[in-house]
């Protein structure tokens, strides 16, 4: 990453929020949205710009599930483990994904294509069980559907699959 460009980017984000109270979490959200995680050098930069100790920033990053310290895979596969999904077979979807991808929760595949994670509840319990890949939700799944869904992403390697559904918003 170009250091100067990075600095300018962060400065722009921080400036927008600098004068507002309780801004740290909002700034981290912006960073996470841009880079997919919060790189260490970015935390250093925020610390300088906001004049808060680095420990304060790491304290917040490590408390909340949403913030990551490691770069994620190209596609994030999130398995919903809310109650409705759990009852309707979310755990089976997870073990199938673990089996196919060869990774456990919060790990990235060797080729960097998929990152597997568990989420609490996506708020679409009527479609249980669901998984979410990048911004797109796949509902009412059976274990056997998983391989088809994943193959869309592997085949087009790098290109988002479009065509079904409407909320195709994921971008690598």
């Amino acid at each position: 990453m170009d250091r100067e460009k990075l600095k300018a980017d962060i400065k722009e984000i921080v400036e927008e929020w600098k004068t507002k109270e309780g801004n740290l979490i909002m700034i981290l959200h912006k960073i996470e949205n841009r880079y997919g995680y919060v790189p260490r050098e970015v935390s250093f930069e925020i610390s300088k710009l906001l004049d808060v100790p680095l420990a304060r920033i790491y304290e917040v990053i490590t408390f909340y599930n949403y913030f990551k310290l490691e770069p994620p895979g190209k596609h994030t596969v999130a398995v919903c483990m809310g109650t409705a999904c759990y009852l309707k077979g979310g755990a089976e979807l997870l073990s199938e994904l673990e089996h196919i991808l060869g990774v456990k929760e919060d790990e990235t595949t060797k080729d960097g294509l998929f990152h597997l994670e568990i989420v609490r509840c996506l708020g679409c319990c009527g479609l249980a069980p669901v998984i979410k890949i990048d911004g797109k939700v796949f509902g009412e799944l059976k274990k056997n559907d998983i391989i088809d869904i994943l193959s869309h992403y592997t085949k087009q390697n790098g290109q988002m699959v479009s065509g079904v559904g409407s909320e195709v918003s994921g971008k690598p």
Binding site: K20, E21, G22, N23, L24, I25, M26, L28, H29, E59, V60, F63, Y64, N65, Y66, F67, M81, G82, T83, A84, Y86, L87, K88, V119, R120, C121, L122, G123, C124, C125, G126, L127, A128, G135, F138, G139, E140, G163, V164, G165, S166
Partner: protein, 579 residues
């Protein structure tokens, strides 16, 4: 022909069919050259579930269900152009439901402030600013007897009155949209479907307590809700409904949005305050309550999304009208997210006092796959299970509490004979252990110990004394934990123990899981008489625990078997037994 709008909801359809309907409608509209006159909108919630493609034609408000491709041309020519309803497709409303909070969802365009204003939007705040003192508003709220919809049920008027009474240079109002309960999505639907009602509710709260600044705290997992609220706030600012001198009065209010970042404990009000301040979401002891010392040490009112959405309606129709709905102590209606092993899952809204039976069997259509409903879980990880024997219980704060559960924010999960109660208790507890912030020992240590005991029981290594241990630790947590998360975390354990002790005992004494969920407490074998020797189980076993061939039949070797259940699933002749 006047301006028309067609709303279509296709979330009930199989995923590969959704695009077709939108395109088909669009083509039909273009063919009839109606692009200028008709607006076509895809909405995510219209309040009807499991009825295929749902279509609403506005302004006539015709509502059609189970629409097929062949009906599209008729809908456009008869209903849109000529303004006539098509009787055969009309939705027959279910009179058990009462839509107060969800009144605008699916009816009002959530992205248009004009549309909201057309439906009596911002009428309540206008009337209040014109001729009501804050005391008068509190009086009206007291008559309505509205109680907090976040779960605890604290009277809203009292919360406002206490905060109003405190002298301070700055006060705040916060909308709690941190819907963390897994299996519930009431707040998401309201924020996405009717954000202006919530803003209006916040304005009324702010006017009453004397706040000039408001915050929405919304889960980051709800991007559409954030987007809609953001737009609604901007629109309200543009229309002079937020900012200085609102509607020509001296009342001023600014609203900003703050996002959660995936922490269940942040639904607790003191933890939520820390999080809005940009810090770790640690709770702190109460008192002082937020009404005295809240956000940045200033008096703060925190109301749940659903509570706020009720307020404009109460002020428009009067407290007396509101209190005529519901039971003696629980007034108004409640939105529930009915999910789990039930035929029609979805968001429902019923008057307080409706029985669980009416909800599960009449609105929900009963259990799936013809299986017997075993229990209903309410209140998420802070609630408990209510067994089928008590299904005639009415919903209300006190009535559910008496049964060892709570009203909670509105999750309602139906469970059947395939669900193991020890497993359910373990599921909720694992959630609370993961989400415990670790600040106080009863929650941090107690939760972990409870979870260990439950794991031990579900692995078949439990002792009968463990049941007492579970109860003792649970009671200690209820008494000593710092915040609501820790105090209520043992509820799922206690309520399953209360009603399903037999099931726990089966795990401990007989080393059996009656529901067949706890791996390790059952094993698989092949029933020779039913086996057709197809070899599917043999080919699918991941650890080669099935041996044999098509001539001699197959056997499962227990020493090798990992209880994954693959053979059981793939067998087409029910020839693999699990027990």
């Amino acid at each position: 022909m006047q301006q028309k709008r067609i709303l279509i909801k296709d979330t009930d359809l199989k995923k590969d069919r959704t695009r077709d309907f939108y395109t088909a409608f669009l083509t039909e509209i273009q063919d009839k050259k109606l692009e200028e006159k008709v607006q076509l909108v895809r909405v995510s919630d219209i309040g009807i579930y499991g009825k295929g493609l749902t279509v609403r034609v506005l302004p006539e408000n015709f509502l059609y269900c189970d629409v097929e491709t062949g009906d599209i041309s008729r809908i456009v020519s008869e209903s849109v152009v000529e303004g006539r309803p098509i009787e055969a497709l009309l939705h027959k409303p279910d009179d058990k439901q009462l839509r107060l909070v969800l009144r605008n969802c699916g009816l009002v365009d959530p992205e248009s402030i004009d549309d909201y204003i057309k439906h009596d939007g911002y009428q309540a705040i206008a009337t209040i600013l014109e001729k009501m003192t804050p005391e008068k508003v509190i009086e009206e709220m007291k008559i309505s007897e509205l109680r907090g919809r976040g779960g605890a049920g604290f009277p809203t008027w009292l919360k406002w009155k206490l905060t109003r009474a405190v002298e301070a240079d700055q006060k705040y109002v916060i909308c709690n949209g941190d819907e963390g309960d897994p299996g519930a999505y009431m707040d998401r639907s309201v924020l996405e479907g009717d954000p202006h009602s919530v803003i209006e509710g916040m304005m009324i709260a702010a006017y009453v307590i004397g706040a000039t600044k408001g915050f929405f705290y919304i889960r980051a997992e709800y991007p559409l809700a954030i987007e809609r609220v953001n737009r609604a706030v901007t629109q309200a600012h543009e229309y002079g409904l937020l900012g200085e001198n609102i509607l020509g009065s001296s009342f001023k209010l600014d609203i900003e949005i703050r996002l959660g970042a995936g922490a269940f404990v942040c639904g607790e009000e003191t933890a939520l305050i820390s999080s809005v301040e940009g810090k770790r979401g640690y709770p702190r002891p109460r008192p002082p309550y937020p009404s005295v010392k809240g956000l940045w040490g200033k008096p703060t009112v925190i109301n749940n999304v659903e509570t706020l959405a009720n307020i404009p309606l109460i002020m428009l129709k009067g407290g007396k009208w509101f209190s005529s709905i519901g039971t003696e102590k629980s007034k108004g209606s409640k939105v529930f997210a009915l999910t789990g092993k039930v035929k029609n899952s979805g968001l429902i809204e019923v008057p307080m006092g409706t029985t669980l039976k009416e909800i599960v069997f009449e609105i929900g259509g009963g259990g799936i796959a013809g299986k017997k409903v075993k229990a209903v879980q309410t209140g998420g990880p802070s609630g408990g299970v209510i067994p089928e024997d008590f299904i005639n219980a009415p919903v209300g704060y006190e009535s559910l509490q008496k049964l060892g559960s709570i009203m909670g924010s509105g999750g309602m999960i139906v469970m059947n004979e395939d669900d193991c109660m020890v497993d359910i208790a373990k599921f909720y507890l694992r959630f609370c252990v993961d989400e415990s912030c670790g600040k106080c020992a009863p929650c941090r240590i107690g939760g972990t110990q409870l979870l260990h005991l439950l794991e031990k029981i579900s692995e078949g290594k439990g002792e009968i004394e463990d049941l007492d241990r579970l109860r003792r630790i649970s009671r200690a947590m209820q008494k000593a934990a710092l915040c609501g998360l820790g105090q209520t975390a043992p509820n799922p354990v206690l309520s399953t123990l209360r009603y399903f002790e037999d099931e726990y005992k089966a795990h401990i004494v007989e080393k059996k899981c009656p529901a067949g969920r706890c791996a390790g407490l059952f094993h698989f074998s092949i029933i020779e008489e039913k086996c057709k020797r197809c070899g599917l189980c043999f080919r699918n076993c991941p650890v080669q625990a099935v041996s044999g061939n098509r001539d001699q039949g197959y056997l499962i070797f227990e020493e090798k078997c990992i209880n994954c259940g693959r053979c059981f699933e793939v067998c087409k002749f029910e020839a693999v037994s699990r027990g």
